[in-house]
Symmetry: C2
Subunit: 147 residues, 2 copies
């Protein structure tokens, strides 16, 4: 657990995080630029990434996930539906509910966007294969969920 690491260890953690944070910010900027060139706003990007191909999300669940109002989800989905990127469908058993699915076009655009978002930063090429292996081991230990 390495608890109570002392000042030196704490400083290490802070340095590591601050460095990574700068890297993330720079990458994030570049993702937004790439999206803009595909006529995708930051909001669209977030939505298209959240909607996994083949999965049907209830409107209400999306609002909860994004901690936004239900009317905002209506608005965002309308936007994307107008561009034929998503489709609204009726829920099978509860007729109050509507679910959202990516259209074929939406899946293609999402794939293109993820190529940017998940493309590793250039600076990762600074590390050798062995170093990457080490880094991977360490990073895996940082992720609570299924890696």
């Amino acid at each position: 657990m390495a608890e109570r690491g002392g000042n030196r260890t704490e400083r290490l953690r802070a340095d590591i995080w601050q460095a990574l944070y700068g890297l993330f910010m720079a990458e994030h900027e570049s993702h937004l630029e790439a999206a803009a060139e595909l006529d995708v706003t930051p909001g669209d990007l977030k939505t298209l990434i959240a909607l996994e191909p083949g999965r049907a999300d209830r409107m209400r669940d999306l609002a909860e996930k994004w901690r936004c109002d239900a009317s905002t989800v209506t608005w965002v989905v309308n936007r994307l539906e107008t561009r034929n990127l998503v489709e609204r469908r009726a829920h099978e058993s509860d007729r109050r509910v509507k679910v959202v699915v990516l259209s074929e076009r939406g899946v293609k655009l999402r794939t293109k966007l993820l190529e940017h978002v998940y493309r590793p930063p250039e600076v990762l090429a600074n590390l050798s294969a062995a170093e990457l292996q080490t880094l991977h081991e360490l990073v895996k230990r940082l992720c609570p969920g299924p890696a």
Copy 2:
């Protein structure tokens, strides 16, 4: 340089980045929540972090840095000035120019915000002191700018 790493190395890079990316997103959410509790919008947060204590930024330079219109800077600075978090001052030699500086209150709030933003994620406690040392060495090699 480790160029032309092959599939395995490329896969490693992608895995590392995807894991770090998820971590970052989770942290970012939590930063925004902490800021909201201090009545600080995402825009305010960005501004307060950008304005370093003791430094005087020209309005025009801020617009360029954020790639936004000059009128947007006027708007954001007005917001913060109303809350006495920043002050506008005249430029010493060019009377067309105005500069923005953090007020005492602004500096205090900024410090409080940065405590959240730069606080290392909990999961970093999963690593031993030796592992952190290794990670630090690797991460430093990823940052082009002055670490």
